[in-house]
Structures are given as structure tokens and as C-alpha cells.
Assembly symmetry: C2
Homo-oligomer: 433 residues x 2
């Protein structure tokens, strides 16, 4: 049986998972694919920490370059993360014509176009199934399973930390701060949670999915990103009353004038399948013009789930290499396309306006919104106390974001508005699902 | 750009969907894959019926053999269905070394091993994404996305007709007969619904998934099949009270002594994602030892959703052919494996016993079950009327099916049991999901 030599860069959580997966199921994998994956070298700066996997220590080295350059290593797996040294290593491997498998969404979001171009130039490939949604084979689904579809919409719950926090806020009534502490205590959040809770990790993944779905390199700078740090429990509760759940969504929508890519807490219908995705799980809904809506669900992170995705990429690459075949094109990065500016998107909105209750103020609100072409779908106002601030919840019909920005600026400048209006976006995800 | 010639056998609903999908997204597909799929011939006995797709009529022929033999046709798509003529055509194409794409689960379930062997012998391949779960790329997920996993369990809602009927019975309170009539009125069920409602279609698909997951040809004869025709609304209602929903599941479980493959109405926890799959939709849960649980959801049938799967197979095959590469092995059909007999499986059970209420009879029931190693997890008994039959619902702990059969025979022979006991199986699908 043919053997393909694997070199691993980064022996952290996922790296150890890959070692364990290959040890556990290497024989089965060989029987299934007809190729044997042989782990030949592992590079990491820390050679001493116990990763909980049985390992021949002679595989370990601190010298990543020697792994990349080793002629016995035919595929390089980059699990270091970050956008600096990982980029150098990936570039070097691709320049050697060696395919790379990576879980590095930050790097792909920031310079994926360059990396894919380099791979194409050197007749090699980049596998990145592990970069989005862990164990869920969403890259393969988009790239191959739905290859015959024009992708109208992708909605992803792509960050387990945020989904865990939102689930706690909804179910346990936690504040954001308390839910974050719980997430940290359970190992679901980093001590510096910025990348997760401020939406950047979700944005990186949304960019990878958007680029894949639409075939042009989506620029991170074009993506509107809003995290969950300032989300108030009260808005989750009001959303529930209105028949919605609040999820941090990566949104990728094809609109007539461009692709709408954004990340923000989003009200979605409580009876939609995505609303039942709780805790650290991830899910992605893809709406294709031929397939209709399909949903993919599973563990979005963790040692073994992410390793499952890495091994899938390794198997694909190894089968191609063992056959002496050229790699299929990684991404068609030359399709025409552009991203919409957040101001040019349209959405339905949830507004929580802090209103000093006086006769006629609702009429003023309606007029201001109407002046900007925004019509109201429903209003919720709890019992009022004359002369005190009361929250008024307004759900709007579809409106342009730029118009909403102007309307909210006007509203918030009124003397009868007691605090900055809270604005959340609604996605109706129409269809049965 | 390289072109690959496609010949279509069978111009029915899905065939017309494939024509429409290629017409609509052929350019996009070519941009994505670097290969152009060219539909060269369509064979059908009926050349006159309007399929609602624009078509050059010179593509049409009644002579399927001429399509298969045409040197300009490099991939044959079989969408005729059935196990007779379709088998002849597929065999002929494979003997020519031409890869085949098929949606024919009945044929694959009955003689898949022979077909895959023939493909391997002639160095060609069979694509069968469309054979299970329509638009959902579940074959690709199992075969490639989860290739590094030992598959512990697969649970599939694989028949939209049955799921529609069960959804109506649960939501609208329909009887089976009425729900079936509704399904027929909406075009979701055939006038002869046997293949669907008696579980055979689900069984065919379960066999395809089981063979794929475990790498040996699962024999249809080894699969226990029970449909939904005799399912009573009252059991759906009791299940609901107990926190379950009833779904017709294809079950594939790896047990220590073999693979447990069966199809029957199944109680699953109401809070599991599969319970929220309603109407004609399909979903598959796969539990892999590396990935954990992943769930795949979408439209399981219909013109375009099934076409999406066919086009995905076409694209994979075309990319390989255009590269002049050998096809990856379709299935490793030589892994060791055997199926369990239904008597040797173990399950938790829901029993509805029609009991003539007399003092002490519950004690007798408990004793009979206990004598066969079956212990009771919970009992529901509504207000009783002395001397009349009352339903007693018993939920058991895990027990062996053969033991349950003997126990039920004993119970049903007792004079205080007024009707044949209803027995349904429970799957707890443990995990958060």
C-alpha cells in the first residue's frame, strides 16, 4: 500500500487530536482509502508537555523548517494558528509544492487569496475543512456537495463560546459577564475572550465560507462585525416573547448588488432548526438554488472533532497524491463579485427605545421612522408609568441599514428618549425548517 | 476547457431536474470545477410529455443502449429506477468502463456489492449521492468528510412521505389513513404507498448507509423492517406525554457482535434535533468516534433537490476524468463485518398493554417481564375502570429483543390482557443535541 508522509506543525490540542485519530483509526483509514497516512514528524516549541497521546518521541522536533523541508514529508499540517509564523510556514510548504492542511481561519480570512494563488501556482493544494465548524464537513458540503448550486444564503452559528454564553443567558438568565465566567470555568472561553465574544472568530469563518460560496476573495475589511459583549439579557427575553431566539450569526447573503457578509447577534425564529442549536455546538444553514435549504450541525471545536476534519483533508489529498493525479482547484478565486457595505444592506430590525412616556411620543417615533422609509411591523410596550422611561420594543419591516442609522440618530436626539436605542437585526430564514 | 459528455437514462421528475440544474448553473459549475458538463443524450420511452424544461429535442431518444454505447458519452446517469432494466443499463455502462451516477437505492440495496465490484473491475466508479436523502450530501459526508471515523451509529429520517404522515398525525391529530390521503393529495405519496409507508424505501437507504459506514455489503434480508401503517395516533400521543416523538428511523448501530440495521417507528427524545424534523424533510445523524455527533438536514426528495446530488456526483467524476486520474475506490467492500439478527439486538421499549383492570395484574406483568430480564423504567396508567380494558404504558430499560418477544407472547396469552400488546422501540440518541 502506498504511504504518504505527514508532518505536523503545532502540537497543541488539535495536533494531539490528529495524532490520536491517526493512531486509533489509521488502519481503517488505509482500508477505506487504499493509502496509508504516516505521521513522520511533529514540530512544536514545547516538547515536554504531556499531550495525553502515546507517541514515539523521536518524531518530535522544535525545528518546523526541517519538517517542511523533509523530503519524506509530503503533506504539511499547520496547527499553530495566528497569522505570522504560520503564514511563513505555509508559504514555504506550498513553494515546495507540498499540499497544506490548516485549521487557521484567521490566516485564511486575512490572506487566503494569496495562499490559494500560491498553491495553484505550485500545482498543489490547501485543505481547510478544519478552519470552519470543527467536525462538520461544511467546506466539503459547500465546495463539492452543493457545487451545482448558486448559494443564495449561508447562516452560521460558528463560535461555540458565544453560543454557550447566549444559551446560558437565555436559559439560566445569566448576564453576559456571568455567562462568560462560566464559559471560562468550563474551558469554553479563553482568558482573553476578545476574538470570540467580539465576533472576530465568527467573522473569519464567515469570510472563508463567503469566499468559497461566491468564488472571489472576500475582504475582512468589508465585513461588518458586532459581537455579543454588549448584549443585554432583557433583549434576549423580549426576543423570546416575540417568537425569536438570539444567536451570533455569520451571515452571507447574495443580494442583487453584491454579497452581504456580516456578523452580529441576530434574532431568528424560535421554531427554526438553528434556534435549537445550544451550548458549544455549531450549525450552518446553506440555501442553494437547486438543493434548497440544508443544515449541518455538530461540534465546532475541540481536540477530536477538529482532528476529524484535518484527517478528512489528509485523506482527500493522500488519495489524489497516491494516484499521481493533479489536485482539483482549491477555489475559483476569479469569479466576479463584490461585497456590500453595511449601510447598503437591508434587514428587519428589533429596536428597544427607552422612552419617557408622554402623550404623542409614539406618534413622533412612527413619523421619524416613516420619514426614512421604515415601517413598523409590531410594537410591544409594557405598562407605562407617566413621566418615567419605559422600554418600547419595535419590530420593523425590511429597511435599509443606512436609513435606519439616520432614523436612530434622530430618535436618540429627541428629549423624550432616555438612552441610546438598542438595535438588533432579524433574519427570518424563511422556509419550513 | 475540457468537456465531459453526459447521457441521461430516464427523463422523469429528477431527470428533468438535472436538465434544469445544468442549464441554469452549467456555467458556474464549469467556472468552479474547470470542466464543462455537456448533456449529449436523454433516453426515455416517452418523448412527448412536457417536462417543463427547455430542451433541444434532438437530444431525445427512446434507445437507451445507443446512449450508453455512444463514444461521446463519458458518464451515464441512471434515473429510471427499479431493479431490472436499470441494472442491465448500469452493468453495460460499467462494462464499457463508463462511470455511472444513480439515484437508485433499491438497486444498490439489492445488488450494490455486485455493482461496486463491477465498477472496480473495469476501473470505473458509481456515484450514488442522490440515492439517499436527496439534497443532503450525506454520502459524501460519510465517505469523505467522516472518513477518519469509526461510525458508531447512524440514525436517518429518510422517507419524506412517512415523515409527513407522522407530522400530520402528531400535529393535526390525523389517523394514519387520513394523513396518507393528505400526503397523496399533496403529491407526497404514490397511489400505491407500500414502498414508503411499509418502510422499504427507508430500508434501502439504511442499507446503502450501513454498507458505506461499515465497508461490507449489508444484505437487505438481514434488515428488520417495520413501517408506519399500523401505528396508532394514541401511541404518538402517549409518546409525547413521555417526552418523545415518533419517527420512522433507519437505524445503523455498531454493536460488539455485529451491525444492527433496522427500520421501524421509533420513540426519540422530543428535545433532540431529529425530533424537530417535520414534514417531508429528511435528516441523518451520524455518530463518529472522532467527530462525535453530526446532523445533516434538508429536502430528501423532489426534482431539484435530488438533481443537486446528481450534479455533485457528475462534478466529482468529471474533475477526475478531466485530470486523467483514476477514480478513488467507491466502497471498500472487503472489510470484515456481519449484521445482527433482530432477535439479538437490544433496545429500550415502549409497551402499550391492554389490561383488564383487576387487582394484582400489574404485579403479574412485572413478574413476567422480570423473568425475562426486562426491567421497567416507568409506567403510565390513566384512571382505571374496574372490569374494563385500560391501556397501561410501560417504558422498559434496555432489553434483548428476543427476550421481549417471549415476554410479550406470555403477556398476550394471559386472560387479563385484552388485545395484542403494542411494542415500539426507543432510541435515546444520547448527547446534548
Amino acid at each position: 500500500m502506498k504511504e504518504i508522509g505527514i508532518g505536523l506543525l503545532g502540537f497543541g490540542t488539535v495536533g494531539a487530536g490528529v495524532v490520536e485519530a491517526l493512531r486509533k483509526n489509521g488502519d481503517l483509514l488505509a482500508a477505506r482509502t487504499g493509502v496509508r497516512l504516516v505521521l513522520r514528524k511533529i514540530a512544536d516549541l514545547d516538547l515536554d508537555r504531556d499531550r495525553g497521546v502515546a507517541l514515539d518521541r523521536s518524531l518530535l522536533t522544535t525545528d518546523a523548517i526541517s519538517v517542511i523541508d523533509d523530503p519524506a514529508i509530503q503533506i504539511v499540517v499547520e496547527l499553530i494558528g495566528g497569522t505570522k509564523i504560520a503564514r511563513t510556514f505555509i508559504t514555504r510548504a506550498l513553494e515546495h509544492g507540498k499540499p497544506v492542511v490548516t485549521a487557521n481561519k484567521a490566516l485564511l480570512a486575512e490572506c487566503g487569496a494569496e495562499i490559494f494563488r500560491l498553491a495553484a501556482k505550485h500545482g498543489t493544494a490547501v485543505g481547510f475543512e478544519a478552519s470552519v465548524a470543527g467536525a462538520i464537513p461544511i467546506i466539503k458540503a459547500l465546495r463539492e456537495g452543493l457545487v451545482g448550486n448558486r448559494i443564495a444564503r449561508v447562516y452560521g452559528i460558528l463560535n461555540g463560546t458565544c453560543n454557550y454564553i447566549l444559551t446560558r443567558m437565555e436559559r439560566e438568565g445569566d448576564t453576559f459577564d456571568h455567562a462568560l465566567k462560566e464559559a471560562q470555568a468550563h474551558g469554553y472561553a479563553e482568558s482573553d475572550p476578545t476574538l470570540d465574544v467580539d465576533g472576530w472568530d465568527t467573522a473569519h469563518k464567515a469570510v472563508v465560507l463567503a469566499s468559497l460560496a461566491h468564488g472571489f476573495p472576500v475582504d475582512m475589511a468589508a465585513v461588518y462585525v458586532e459581537g455579543i459583549r454588549t448584549l443585554a439579557k432583557v433583549d434576549i427575553d423580549y426576543a423570546r416573547v416575540l417568537g425569536y431566539r438570539v444567536k451570533l450569526l455569520g451571515v452571507v447573503k447574495a443580494e442583487p448588488d453584491g454579497i452581504d457578509v456580516r456578523v452580529h447577534p441576530t434574532l431568528i425564529p424560535a421554531n427554526h432548526m438553528l434556534s435549537s442549536v445550544n451550548g458549544v455546538f455549531n450549525a450552518v444553514m446553506v440555501d442553494g438554488d437547486i438543493a434548497g435549504q440544508t443544515v449541518y450541525f455538530g461540534r465546532g471545536a475541540g481536540r477530536l472533532p477538529t482532528a476529524s476534519a484535518v484527517v478528512s483533508d489528509l485523506a482527500d489529498l493522500a488519495v489524489t497524491m497516491a494516484a499521481g493525479a493533479p489536485f482539483p482547484p482549491t477555489l475559483p478565486h476569479d469569479l466576479p463579485g463584490r461585497c456590500l457595505n453595511i449601510g447598503d444592506i437591508s434587514s428587519r430590525y428589533y429596536l428597544r427605545i427607552s422612552l419617557l412616556d408622554k402623550p404623542g411620543v409614539m406618534g413622533v417615533l412612527t413619523t421619524v421612522l416613516g420619514n426614512h422609509g421604515i415601517s413598523i411591523a409590531s410594537v410591544v410596550q409594557k405598562e407605562t408609568h407617566a413621566g418615567r422611561n419605559v422600554p418600547v420594543i419595535i419590530v420593523t419591516h425590511r429597511a435599509r441599514e443606512a436609513d435606519m442609522n439616520v432614523a436612530l440618530a434622530e430618535i436618540d436626539a429627541r428629549p423624550f428618549v432616555g438612552a441610546k436605542t438598542i438595535r438588533l437585526r432579524i433574519e427570518d430564514l424563511d422556509g419550513q425548517i
